[in-house]
Structures are given as C-alpha cells and as structure tokens.
Point group: D2
C-alpha cells in the first residue's frame, strides 16, 4: 500500500481526491490537512465521504507529516504551494502539486501572471507537467509533478494533434471555454452564490486569465515556436464540467474525416481520450464524475476553419483524477487503477 | 462470472444498471434489450458507457435470451413486466424485476391502483419484496425479487424503526416526498422538458400516486395492522435524488436522542443506511450516485410529532443500486460488491 | 407622487422593491441606503436596474432621511429594524417593515424565537400584520405595517378558509414548505454557494424555524384558539418561489368540490389569489416574478385529510410585492398598481 | 387600441408575446391561434397568463381572422409562415413574422439553408429586417417585418459598430454563442428533457446552423462586402438568455477605451442597448425577462484581437420583445411602450 497524504483537503479538489481514492486498491490515506477545519472530521464537512469517518483534518506540520506518507498531493492555493512542494521534494518524497505553482517552466512568466516571484527555481526545474498523454515517460521518471490546470487540460488535449501535425495556422488560435462552478472552489463569495450563478451565463477574465500562459507554453512546445492564444473562460450554471470550443485556421486542403483520422491515430492508445465519430460532438454531461476526455471536431470549408470541441470534468480529468492518474504512473500501478468508473448520467 | 441480461436497457434505470455493473467484478453482461433502439449500440444512446462499446441493443426474444444468462434484470414498464417475469422465473432463472408488477402481494390492490389485472398470481406468490434491510434472508432464499419503488424505499427505511418499536400513532402518517426528475424516466413529454421543470416546483399525484399502496403494505406488515398513508410526491428541478419528510404523532414521552438510539440500533449492521447525528439532516446531494440512504430525525415536543427525513438517490438505492444489492445477496457475493463508491459531490 | 425611501437596498428584497417600483406610476424613490455599499451606484450592484443609473446607495442617517420621504420601506435584518421602525413611525411617517420585528404581537413570543427583547412595545402595539387578504381595512387605517414573512404568507393564505370555516381539526396542522434560495438573502455563506445548493435538496430548521410562531399567531386568530403548527422548511435548487403543502385532518364529511367552493368564495374578490380548478395543482414556476398566489387542493377520503398546496414568489407576494400592495392600500392607490405583470414563464 | 392577432400562440414565443402585451396600454388581442390546442383556454396551457382567462385558442382560418385584427404576429414554424405572411400582407394588414421565412433577402440563400424554396418572392422583396437599431426608418415605413433570429440579434448588435467603423478584419469573425433552452421551443423531444440538459453543456449545429447566413447577410451589408462567419451555438442549462462571444482581428492600433467610445457613440440614442463600462462584462441574468441588450468588450493587445460579449434574453429582445418594439415603431407608439420592465433578478 502506498502511503498518501493530502494537504488542503477541505476544498472541492481535496474532497474529490478523497472520493476517487476511496475506490483505489493500492493506497492508504494517512493524513489530510486543513488549517481552517483542523480538528473536524472529514465527514463533518463532506457527509458523502463515510469511508473516512475515522479520519480528521489536521493543521499542517510538515516535519511530522514527512514520516507519515510517501506521496504528497498538494491542493493548496496558488502561492502557498511553492514552499511546501519544495520541502517535500527536497526531503525525497513524491509530490503531485495541484496548484499552478510549478506548471510554468519560466519563472518570469509565472511572476508576470501570478504577481509573485517564484522562490524555488531549482525545484521548479525538476517539475514535469503532468499531462500523461504528452509526457507519460517523463512523469514515470519524476518525483515532482505539476498537475495541469482544468482549462489547459481540455485545451491542450484538443489542440495537440492539429498543432503537432502542422495542419493549422498556429497564430490564430482561439480557445472559448465554458466551466461549471466548482472550478471557482469552495469559497464563500457573493459572486458564486446559487442565486447569482443559476440562470446566468457570463464571460470573465477576458484576455487576462492565468491559464493563458499555461496553454501557450504547451502549445508552443508542440509547435516548436512561440504561440499566443486568445483564451476566454465562461461560467456555466452547473456543478462540474469544462467544454472548450477551439477555432483554428486550416493551412491545408483537409476535411473532417482527415482530421478525425489524425486525432484517432494520435490518441489511439490513450485510455482516457475518446474521439467521437463524425457528426457527433461532446457533452460535459457524458464525462461528469469520470476521468475521460471526449473530443469532437468539424472542418468548416466555407471559412477554412477547424472547430474542435473538448469536454472533461474539471474536478476529475481537470484536477484530482488526473492527479491520481499521475500517481498511478509514478508508482508503477496500472495507469487506469481506480479511474474507470463511467460518468454519472443523468 | 455471473451471466446477466438486462431487459429494457434504454431508459435511465437500465443505463444506471449498466453504469453500476461496469465496476462489478463478478458479473458479465450478455444481453441488453430495447424494442425502440434494437440494433443501436449502447454508446449511441449513452456515450458515457464506453465500457460497452461493443455491445448493442437487441429486440426481446425470450426463448433465445433464456440460454444466455443466469440472472435477468427487468427494467420494463409496469404491466409489460408481468409476463416476462413469469417466463424467466418458470424457466428456472433468477429474476429481479424493477417494475411495480410483483411488489404488491395482493392482486386486488394491484388491479385497483394499476388499472390492470395481475395474470400471474402463482408467480406473484413467489416474489419477495427486495428491501434488504427488511427481508435479507428471504431475498437470499428466493429466485424472484420485486425491487422496491424509489419513493417507497425512502419512506419505508424512514418509517420502519419507529413503527416497529411502536412509539408512534401509525394512523396519522404523512409522507411528503420530493424527487428529482429522472424518476419520470426518459420519456419525451412536454411536462418534463428542461424549461418546464427548471425553476419550477410542484406537487403531483396527490392522494392517488401508485406508490401509496406499496408504502402502506410494508408499513402495515411492520405494524401488524392495516395502515393508511398520506403520500404526496413533488417534482424537484434536479436530476437525481429523493427526500422524504415523514410526520408521525408520538405516543410516548420520548425525545430526539431516544429515537436516534432506536434508529441506530435498528440499522446498526446495515452497510447502506447512515443515521445522522443529532442536529443534522440529510441532503440528497450527499447520496447522489451512491447506494446510501441518509436519515436524520427530530422530535418536536411542542406538537408531539416525530419528523424523519430520509434521502436516497432514486436511480441507485431507489432502483438499480438496490437491484444490484439484491443480486449480490442472491448470488452469494459480498452484499456491498460494486456499490461502495461514494456520492458524487458537488 | 409619493416620496419613498428604502432602507437596506442592497439585498434581494431591496432590489426587488426597486424592480417593482420601476413600473409604479405614482411613486418617486428619493433615497436607498446600504451601509456596506454606501457610495456605490445601484447599478454597480444590480446592472439590471438601469432605471436608477443616477441613484447611489447612502449610509443611513435617519434624521436627514426623515425630510426626504413620506413612506419608508425597511428591508433591514431582523433586530436592526426595531429602532428604525420606531423612529420613523414616531416622527409621523408611514412605515412598511419587511423584517420580522413587528410581526409578532406578543413581545414574549418575539423574544423567545428571536433571542432578543423587543424594546419598542408601544410602537409594536400599533403595527398591523400586512396581509391584505385578511386585514385590508386595518392596513388602510394604519401607518405601520409589519410585512408578513414569505413562508407565512403561503401558509396563511392556504390555511385560512379551511380554519375559518371550521371544517378541519386545527390541532393537527402540518405545513411542509419548500423555498427557492433567494429566501436566504444575498449573504456570502458556503451553504448557499451554487455548488452546495444545485442538485441538492434538504430540510432545515425542523421544529425551530422562526416563521412557526408567525403562522401560529395568525392561524390561532382565525380559529379563535391557540394552535400549534408543525412547520418544516426545505431548500429547493431554484432562485425564487415557495410551495407549501398543508395537511389538515377533516372534521366533516366533505369532498374536494365542497372545499374548492369554500375557497373560491373566501377569495372571490381577491385580485392576487387564484384558486385552481379541481384536478389542478400549482407550480411555483407559474407565479415567478409575479404577486400572485396560486392555490390547489384535494380531499383524500381514504385518510380523511385535506391537502392544500399554495405557491407564491417569495420575493414578490412573499416580500416586496406584498409591501407595494400594502403601500397602495395605505396611499389610496388602486391596490393592484404596478403589480399586475404576469409571471415570467419559462 | 390596435387590434392584434397572434398566429401560433402555444409555443414559448407566442406565450411571451401574450405576457408582454398584457402590460401594453394600446393593444387589444383579438385572436390567438394554435392548431394543436384549438378550443383550449390560454390558461390551460399557461396558468401564468390569467389576464387572458376568457381567451381561447382557435384553429387558423385566415379569411375570418382578416377582419378581426390590424396587425398580425406570426409565430409559426419556419416554412409554414411563408404563405400566411403573404396572405395577410397582400390583404393590406401589418405583419410581423417571427419565423425565419422573410429574413434572408436572397431566395437562393434561403433555399440552400432551409432546404425549401421560397414561393413568395415578390412579398419577400417588401420585407424589412426588423432590427430597429439598424433599420428604424425602414421599419416605420413598412407593413412587413421579418423579426430577427435570437442569435443574430445578439451577434449583429455586437458586431455592427466595429465592422461599420472598419477597425477590424471582417474576414476572421468568430461568433461563439450560448443559449438557454427555451430557444429550442416547446417541443417534446428527448434531447430537451430536463435530465438531458441539466448539468450538461454542448455545442450543436457546428458550421451548419441556419442563423449563419442571417448574421452574414447583415454583417456583409454593413461592411459593404461579402463576409463569412464562423458561428457555433451551444446549449446552456438555463431557461432564457443568449450570450455571444465575438472575436475580431483588429486592423488598427486601438485599445479598449477607443472601441468603447465607438460603441457608446454608435448606440448613444438606443433605448435598449447598454454598453458596459471598461472592465465590466455582461451576464444574461441581468437581462432576463427584459428587452435590453448588454454589451461589454475588451481589446487583447497580445493577440491583436477585439473580444465583444453581447447578452440578450432570447425570448424578449431575441424574439417577442423585439416584435413588440417593431410594432410600436410601425404603429407610431413610443418605441419603448410596454418594454421597460427591468430584468427579473435573481
């Protein structure tokens, strides 16, 4: 049994890790931390997590935690994660960081978008961007995984084959994304009250959202040149799910079937990526609660544009499920262990 | 591996059986039927059920199906199930019927509420009401299970300890229930369109809903005398979940702690019933997608009334999950096999 | 033009007053207060209220406000309203208080349920409970209106004819109510986040909700004797609306048509109460955004029970619409002025 | 009083016309038709429309209807409207057609996208596209208005100033739109059941949606050259509202403030278009139930892209409200008559 600790277990991402790991046969959760809820039982906050009825939140005491686990999931706020990641990594532990702190490989870009310097650049240099579909081998060889953001996971999985195969003009990429409300976390803010979100729909963070450089970094690596992205997130009145609609100008004379063929080849061995047949488009409802990514696409010959639609559950493939997938790879477990439960529909 | 067939697999209940059985280690699904969708793949209707990408719906041919499975789940409409149940049962198979056709032990009561006679009364006499918390031993010994209705499951689990212990006046029972919309099935009717249900809330079937005699039958058996129930269902703008609020006049001088103690004792060995601590009340959100029933209660001393609140997922503990639980019991598997996944929250 | 001020204009109730009064031909809003949002424009908080684009929130300065309006709507928190009501009333103004502070005529009952003494008992003695269907003449003659609570409005309108006509056993009344989330106000609390409320349903405040004594007070006045009520509120994943399902034991041999006749007579002249025909039951969706109350009912002869279902919009007939209705009566305007807009459906 | 008839009054658009006209002081509704619901009362289908409790649906008999009204709203399905429009127009009546049949001025384009020929091309030549912000004078002088589609209304209002001022490269326009479910109409189809739509989000009609040529027609007229649009509609789990996110490549060195200034000037006299201040973006919730269009925008200097976000209520400004606005213009009423009610929030 792999001994696992979760730092920051009182938010939706932490709770989702606990939910998923409840069905994982090879892990044992030895500690869950929360500053605000220290002393409370897990089930005081999350009655659905009966399995942990004997487990309580504790305050973070990194020195003591060190002995109690082999792998640390960090679901701390951005900024707060920097130092904790460094600590556990330097002390020889496996670390999967669900914050954004180790996703951007260039410290300057991090500082520009997150408005705070990166103080652990040596450790940052060791981090692997934890998207298994792109970096499986590096993940296997690493002890420090920067778990991708929710929007970037959908965008990069959607973009990669087309950019890689060089069929599109990478300078005109538009990613129009829509997310369920759990992406905002479990924060008591007026803007996320039921009565503010329900029956509403809005864009936010236009041109300034922090997931922009993360998508650009990965798209640029694939393209082999610097790419800028137009990224617009929107808030959907639903709990879970991200759907990204991606627009790419086509360079070649190519049709939907050709592109589907490229996508099917690219992801042919991926257990969690599902390319839909011609004529079908994904619905976030079909991936809710699951680790799957559904991708549909269409070439618009009138406008010479490739439209790709990618759907994931932001808390699973977009966060905690992908973290467990990374853990499975790092630990040498079957990659799909604990992650094959179908979506909850309806 | 137990060979299993599902008759009526294109509705929400059938899809939910497939979802749950996808994680069940000891069953193999050998056939799924649907008259309307015969020839289509499971994933044509339900893209979330990738695991069955090689499985297609077929029309019902009972003779041929007979050889292909040992246990038959019947998720057919009420009325249509009568004959099919009889057929498979007479031919030596194990049958779990998710319709209402074999739930009411008295044919006259069935005929009165379902407006159609029961034509297989001999087989009806063999059926066991499949609520494991009440009839586990009978289920184990039976080949024919009448899987309980969704509302009755919540009501009977909520009522039983109080009625059994004779602390309430069983003549004044009120069951005020609220259900998510999946309880209406996957029928294309105007009344269940998104725009009709969303931002709405209504009562329906007041004093005439067909689950009334089912609750009365079981409550009467426990009480040892004929009980009439006021049962009022309501439609909630959510996908899944039933919450029943039950009002009972108390006969004795008893307080909340006393009643909680009775409930905790009564369900002390039940893996799927969770009695909440004093001061807590259940939320359907905490059982969504799971087989658990959460029960909270309170004695109102000002009015001498016991208020019990019971929450389940109507498609899981209220239908397909309970059917799998019954299958586990009949087949000698660990009762919780495939059913311990926590609820999906949020 | 009647000069009107709103104290506490940054919550849902205050915003709803502004929305309704935007179409009122005989009023002019001269001041809107908010401690937290003083200095901000109305449209900074509520972009839908363009009509007030030149109006800003101000902090409360009672002395100065006194000169600026003839009628004061107070949408302050319970407790905070006591002193303000007294001030404006003593200074000769018309006051409509949307808090609970002046609803309970007995100070002891107020103190028991609200955990704070009532310090203005002389003024309390002048307050009229502002349910026009019961107290129209008193409202017309008064300067101080205690605007009813949202749940009590639905319950009392539902109960009154049956209790008044003495056809029911008033000792066994059960009011099972379900409310949209706007009833909780615009408070940034985790429990009312979208992800906590959506796809959830729960009871709360069982046996201890503060609207209990308000319903009891009015039901007792009608019955001419002290009545205790079982009142259970529930939270529905929708913005607006209250539906109360009321259970009453029938004393006489009476059927649905008889009771409908009683209800139709009782409310025959009421512009905002709509008794549905036999066989129909109300849906909150049909009253959303309107000042109407829809009532349906049924006698269950098997159990000798009358079930009444009453639906209102909690922010309109349950709060701000009723406040405007009271204003119309007090000011001598046509009672329906500004209040006849149909519900927003879908 | 203007005598008004509504053909096709049993869908959401027809009901919305009735709702809005209920508050209109200068119109009298003399007939409402529905083939399916002929003989039923309006309130049988729509209990919220009490005001019409004496009005019943009737089957269409065009000859007889001719004498009963001066202005005809046609809310019939596409295709079915062609002949009816022609009939009433030829007989000297004022006609506002809410279908798509008279929106596309070129019959070939109509035939290509709607898969049916246009058989009344002479009448088609008389139709004015009923977007008051662009064609107010033509509307005033016309007897035949083609009321714009819901998506096109949001897209064209969003696009026009930028295209008109020639600040953008009109060849790269992307319109990514999101609509509430009422846009699908009141049809009993599985795809629009509550359980299919709720907690879901999907794109549909990618590259083939029929509103594409309508947006292209109007954008081309403004630009003075043929423009092709990438238009992608999405389905949002909410009742009402459209939000269109529009991407345009900027030709000049221009920033957000410059573009806001252009938009404010362009719409300075428009009663229903509200340009939001720098930093603000619209939410469909703020226009729900109202005839207003809220527009926010931002220039992304990193990518040289102008992002415009436009929000309307699809049933009001996107259909029935705009139809009433057109009626007001045609009839010489104040243009805002009956249309100034603020949005219903929350």
């Amino acid at each position: 049994m792999l001994k696992v600790a979760i730092l920051g277990g009182s938010g939706y991402t932490g709770a989702e890790l606990l939910r998923i790991l409840a069905s994982h046969p090879y892990t044992e959760i030895t500690a869950v931390t929360s500053e605000k809820s220290a002393g409370k039982k897990i089930t005081d906050l999350f009655p659905h997590l009966h399995k942990y009825s004997n487990l309580a939140y504790e305050a973070v005491d990194k020195e003591r935690l060190l002995q109690r686990a082999d792998l640390f999931f960090l679901a701390l706020p951005h900024g707060a994660s920097q130092e904790a990641v460094d600590f556990f990594f330097r002390n020889g532990k496996q670390v999967i960081d669900l914050s954004a702190d180790y996703r951007l490989s260039e410290p300057d870009v991090y500082a520009e978008w997150y408005k705070t310097p990166h103080n652990y650049q040596k450790t940052l240099g060791k981090a692997v961007y934890g998207l298994p579909e792109l970096y499986r081998d590096k993940i296997k060889a690493s002890r420090l995984i920067a778990n991708p953001g929710c929007y970037p996971t959908s965008a990069i999985l959607g973009l990669s084959p087309a950019v890689k195969e060089n069929i599109v003009d990478a300078e005109t990429i538009i990613v129009d994304s829509k997310s369920g409300t759990s992406g905002a976390g479990r924060k008591a803010e007026t803007a996320f009250l039921f009565c503010e979100v329900n029956e509403g729909f809005k864009a936010y963070g236009v041109a300034v959202h922090r997931h922009t450089p993360e998508i650009e970094q990965e798209a640029s690596k694939i393209a082999g040149k610097k790419i800028f992205i137009n990224f617009t997130p929107h808030l959907v009145p639903m709990d879970r799910g991200i759907l990204s609609t991606i627009y790419l100008r086509i360079k070649k004379d190519i049709d939907t079937k050709d592109v589907l063929s490229i996508y099917n080849n690219y992801y042919s061995k991926e257990p969690f990526v599902n390319i839909l047949n011609d004529g079908l488009l994904p619905n976030v409802k079909d991936v809710r609660g699951s680790n799957y990514c559904h991708i549909g696409l269409k070439v618009n010959k009138r406008t010479n544009t490739l439209i790709i639609v990618a759907a994931i559950d932001n808390l699973v493939k977009g966060a905690s499920g992908q973290a467990v997938q990374n853990m499975n790879i790092m630990a040498g477990f079957e990659e799909t262990t604990g992650l094959t439960m179908p979506a909850l529909f309806p």
